[in-house]
C-alpha cells in the first residue's frame, strides 16, 4: 500500500498539490506496521509510539523531498526510526498514537511481553545491540545492509551482533536454570 503511494507520487510532477493527502494516506497505511516496529525497537509500545510520531512528523514536514530523494519513504522512515532510537532521541511524552494505553507515565504500563524471558533479555541490551538484532531478525536485513543503515562498519555490526547474541544466550540459560 505504502509502496503504491510512493510510486504514485514519483509519477506526479506537481506533487505539491497531492502531497497533503498522500502523506496522510501514507501515514494511515503505514502506521500499524510502524507502531509494531517501534514497539520492537524501543522495547515498549509507548516509547515506540513516541518514536514513530517524532520521526513521521519530521519526515512529513519534508515529505516531497523525502519521496523524491529516497524513492521508498517507508524504508526511509524505518531506517530513520532505527537511527533515531539509538542515540540522540530524547524521550518526550506527547499525545499518544496508541489507543489502549494510559496517557500518564506515572505508572509504567506492563508490557504484554513482560513474562517473556527473551523479550526481557532483548530489552536489557544496549540500544545499539538491540537495534542490530531488530534489523537482523525483524527487518531481515543482511549485515552489510545493517551497516549501511546505522552508518557503522560491517565489522562493528558483526561484533555488536555477536555480543548481543552471547548476552541473550547467557541471560536465557540463566532464566531457564532459575526457573527449574
Amino acid at each position: 500500500m505504502a509502496m503504491m503511494v510512493s510510486t504514485h507520487l514519483a509519477h506526479a510532477p506537481k506533487a505539491g498539490e497531492a502531497s497533503v493527502d498522500d502523506f496522510g494516506e501514507f501515514v494511515r497505511a503505514a502506521l500499524p506496521g510502524l507502531l509494531r516496529y517501534g514497539h520492537a525497537l524501543a522495547g515498549n509500545p509507548h516509547d515506540g509510539a513516541d518514536l514513530v510520531q517524532s520521526v513521521l512528523e519530521k519526515v512529513g514536514s519534508r515529505w516531497t523531498t523525502v519521496v523524491r530523494t529516497t524513492g521508498d519513504p517507508l524504508a526511509y522512515v524505518r531506517r530513520a526510526m532505527a537511527n533515531t532510537n539509538i542515540s540522540h532521541w530524547r524521550r518526550r511524552r506527547r499525545e499518544s498514537l496508541c489507543a489502549d494505553l494510559p496517557e500518564t507515565a506515572a505508572a509504567p504500563q506492563p508490557d504484554a511481553f513482560d513474562n517473556e524471558p527473551l523479550w526481557q533479555a532483548l530489552r536489557a541490551l544496549p540500544q545499539r545491540q538491540r537495534a542490530v538484532i531488530v534489523l537482523r531478525y525483524y527487518e531481515g536485513l543482511s549485515e552489510a545492509e545493517i551497516a549501511q543503515t546505522l552508518k557503522v562498519s560491517p565489522g562493528t555490526v558483526k561484533s555488536q551482533a555477536s555480543k548481543a547474541m552471547a548476552t541473550l544466550r547467557t541471560r536465557l540459560s540463566g532464566t531457564t536454570e532459575e526457573g527449574r
Binding site: 509494531r36 512528523e57 516531497t64 523524491r68 532521541w89 544466550r169
Partner: protein, 272 residues
C-alpha cells in the same frame, strides 16, 4: 544453539503481541504535527530573509524547495506558481541545489530580491551548472562554547547554507545532515524544530580547554569536572559558557580510550 536462538528471535518478532492498536486520531495527529514542524521552519526562513542579502540568497532557494515539500501548511508568502518551468527548479532545489538567481517565473517578490552575489555553490548531481568553491579549511579549530567556525548552534538552515561550507549528506531521523567541506568525518545535524543542533568533529578540532582528538579520558575528566560517563548514549560534560549545550565524547575501543570524536550538542531532536 545459534539456530535455536535465531528461530526464537524470529518467532518473537512475529508475535501478535507486538501489535499496537492505532488510535483513531493518530493519522490526524501526525499530519498536524508535520504541519507544525514545517511552519516553524518556514518562520526560520522568513526571519532569515530579513537578515542580509547573502542569507536571502539561500533562503529563497529554501522557500522554493519548501514549495515542493507538500502543502502541509498554508502556502508560504514566497509561494511560487506551479508551472512546467518551475518543476525542474524545485527538483533541483529538492536535491539541495542553490541557485542564487531565481528563474524569471518566480513571484515578483523573489525577483526584486535578486542577491548581489553570483551563483552559489551547487551540490546537485544533475544538470544544473556547478560552480566550484575551493574547500575552505576552518583554521580556528575550537569547538564551543556556541559553535565551530562559522557554524552556530540553533542557526537556521538558510544561515547554514549561506556559509557555503556545508555539504548535504542526507537525512537522518527527519533532520538534515551536512558535512563541513574539507573536514572529513565532520557532521552537522539541522533539526527543522530547533535549527542546527549537533556539530560533530573527528579531526581538526579542540575544545577551549584543550581537549582534542587523541586526548585520554583522564585528561577529559581533569578538564571537565562534571564529566558524566553514565549516560546511555555517550559520556558528556557541560560546556563552560553555554548552559544550553553539552559536549559528547567518543573514544577508541582499545584500552587507551583516547578521544576519537567531539560533539557539541545544543537543543535538538536529531538522530546521531
Amino acid at each position: 544453539m545459534d539456530d535455536d536462538l535465531e528461530d526464537e528471535l524470529k518467532r518473537l518478532f512475529e508475535d501478535e503481541r507486538l501489535d499496537v492498536r492505532v488510535s483513531p486520531d493518530a493519522e490526524r495527529t501526525v499530519v498536524a504535527g508535520a504541519r507544525r514542524v514545517r511552519r516553524r521552519r518556514t518562520a526560520f526562513v522568513t526571519a532569515a530573509a530579513v537578515v542580509s542579502a547573502g542569507v536571502l540568497a539561500a533562503s529563497t532557494v529554501f522557500a522554493v524547495r519548501e514549495q515542493g515539500t507538500a502543502k502541509l501548511a498554508e502556502p508560504p508568502t514566497l509561494a511560487i506558481t506551479s508551472s512546467s518551468t518551475t518543476v525542474s527548479t524545485s527538483e533541483q532545489a529538492a536535491q539541495g541545489t542553490s541557485v542564487a538567481q531565481p528563474p524569471s517565473t518566480e513571484t515578483t517578490k523573489l525577483n526584486t530580491s535578486t542577491p548581489p552575489s553570483g551563483k552559489k555553490e551547487t551540490t546537485s548531481s544533475s544538470t544544473s551548472p556547478r560552480t566550484s568553491v575551493p574547500p575552505t579549511i576552518i583554521t580556528n579549530k575550537v569547538l564551543g562554547p556556541v559553535g565551530y567556525g562559522p557554524f552556530r548552534l540553533g542557526m537556521s538552515e538558510a544561515e547554514l547554507l549561506a556559509t557555503q561550507l556545508a555539504e548535504p549528506a542526507g537525512d537522518v531521523g527527519g533532520c538534515a545532515k551536512y558535512e563541513i567541506k574539507g573536514i572529513a568525518g565532520s557532521a552537522l545535524y539541522y533539526s527543522p524544530s530547533y535549527g542546527l543542533g549537533l556539530i560533530v568533529l573527528t579531526s581538526n578540532v579542540r575544545t577551549p580547554a584543550g581537549i582534542t582528538i587523541g586526548s585520554t579520558e583522564d585528561q577529559v575528566r581533569n578538564k571537565y569536572p562534571d564529566y558524566n560517563d553514565t549516560v546511555v548514549s555517550h559520556p558528556r560534560a557541560a560546556v563552560p559558557g553555554n548552559s544550553t549545550a553539552v559536549y559528547e565524547f567518543t573514544y577508541s575501543a582499545d584500552e587507551q580510550r583516547t578521544v576519537t570524536g567531539l560533539t557539541l550538542m545544543g537543543t535538538q531532536d536529531c538522530a546521531g
